[in-house]
Amino acid sequence: MPTSKSDLIAMTLAEARDAIRAKKISSRELTGAFVSAIEKARPLNAFITEAGEKALAMAEASDKRIASGQIGALEGLPLAIKDLFCTKGTRTTAASKILGNFVPPYESTVTQNLWDAGAVMLGKTNLDEFAMGSSNETSAFGNVINPWRAKNSNVNLVPGGSSGGSSAAVAADLCLAATGTDTGGSIRQPAAVTGRVGLKPTYGRCSRFGVVAFASSLDQAGPMTKTVKDAAIMLKTMASVDAKDSTSVDIEVPDYEKLLEGGIKGLRVGIPKEYRIDGVPAEINALWTKGAEWLKAQGAEIVDVSLPHTKYALPTYYIVAPAEASSNLARYDGVKFGYRAEGVRDITDLYEKSRGQGFGAEVQRRILIGTYVLSAGYYDAYYSRAQKLRTLIKRDFEQAFEKCDVLLTPTTPGPAFGVGAKTSDPLEMYLQDVFTVTVNLAGLPGISVPAGLTESGLPLGLQLIGKAFDEATLLRAALAVETAADFKHSPAKWWSV
């Protein structure tokens, strides 16, 4: 039974849920502990908007519901929300100056599902601007600092990206769980480098309504949690069939938590040989091998598979994603909402200056790439070819899944790196997503599970990839990795002395 504030915030989502249901703790008490932890953790810059007052009001309302016997699936549980999900009446910035003062008059479907289940919102977490980045260094609201530091080091590390505020918040015990979005790895990569769990569901599983769009054919919301079980609990509520998103798929949402049981005896786990790439540290490949052994020891069958077009995934992504982004971001023109430049000559000048001043460097770069690959004369050479490559990449997975049920790979090509270490060369930053981006192109579910520490004491994750809409099997395999890895590490709380 938790007694101190530090015990309260260290609980898993499942533990907190059970403690609230058993009336051992109140939502007010739990939420209060998180609100003060968030205030103390400001050096991490994990939140763009703290919503302490609102959180306490939501917690009190939840406690009243509990007293009257109305208990939702996430009743009274405090969560952090990536600042890409529109929240009615609470500023939603996408970490961009262009949306710096935007207060949505509507709620995203995913967050509405969470509040309908009784959850409490602690605030809006920092991210790369419009989710474009892999280190949370493109935010207009400053870098997020990873709670983890290497052994005997005071060097600030990045928390991954784009959901870097969410990953830092989960790892630093600033929330029970957080929402993220994943377009090329933005849930799984930050989860991996902060030693926590990140799940990107199948495309179409969670509604995109009210989530600020980056690349609509790739974007998918998902949970970032302390454990696999917590991810199963969160996904059950986040996922829904939604009339407001025409790409939301009409498949009933199963009870993922119940389906976690049963073990992995006979599960066929594919090891794709193309994921063994040059320049990846030996300790990552060693951990990958160990992961396969863990699964084998629990009764899984290890199968060698091939995904021949893997090396083309990143360049394909850097055509498709910017193309869609350049189209999606055309709406920010300084007219109906968002930042408007002063002192303009005419309407075109208004558009150009508002966008030129409102978007940061990486977003501008991607808008230009996207505009170029969609422009007359280049469309076939770039965009059309990339869409064909996407078909081939998806086929690779379909063929591999004839031989196996899930795939096991590393999540990232390395652990968390230093702030500023990779910002001078865009390509070097893009390579962070080399193991995660294929999953988005194929629309599949993927999960990163913390699996070990580097010699320098930094967390590494293993990624499992599942068949479309088979999150249940994916989560069961993830639980097996989690159980075997027995990763119990947490960062030292250097920020709150």
């Binding site: 798929v249 850097y318 007219v335 966008r355 230009l368 770039y382 064909k388 081939l392």
Partner: protein, 95 residues
């Protein structure tokens, strides 16, 4: 294919993005680096491969053509950087 300063100026115009003159040259360099890297897609034979149109096998949903969430003019105006009543204010577009 190589992107030069004039190309950057042209696509910036198409994208309605004010890129300062001093940024054009460095941006051309950055874009060239990226485009040279994606050139590797040229080595794949894509003959007869259909371009992907949807990542999940589902027909786009249709719905009845009727208003589902109307009369939101006030809500639509609350974030307008220039607005009067139910009108968005912009610089003069007709002389």
């Amino acid at each position: 294919m190589s992107v030069d300063k004039d190309t950057v100026r042209r696509i910036a115009k198409l994208a309605r993005l004010a890129v300062p003159e001093a940024r054009l040259e460095p941006m051309a360099g950055e874009l060239n680096g990226i485009f040279q890297w994606v050139e590797m897609l040229g080595e794949v034979n894509v003959e007869g491969v259909p371009a992907m149109t949807s990542v999940v096998a589902q027909k786009l949903k249709w719905r009845e053509d009727k208003v589902t969430d109307g009369n939101q003019a006030d809500a639509l105006m609350i974030n307008a950087p220039g607005g009067e009543d139910h009108f968005f204010v912009v610089p003069k577009v007709v002389e």
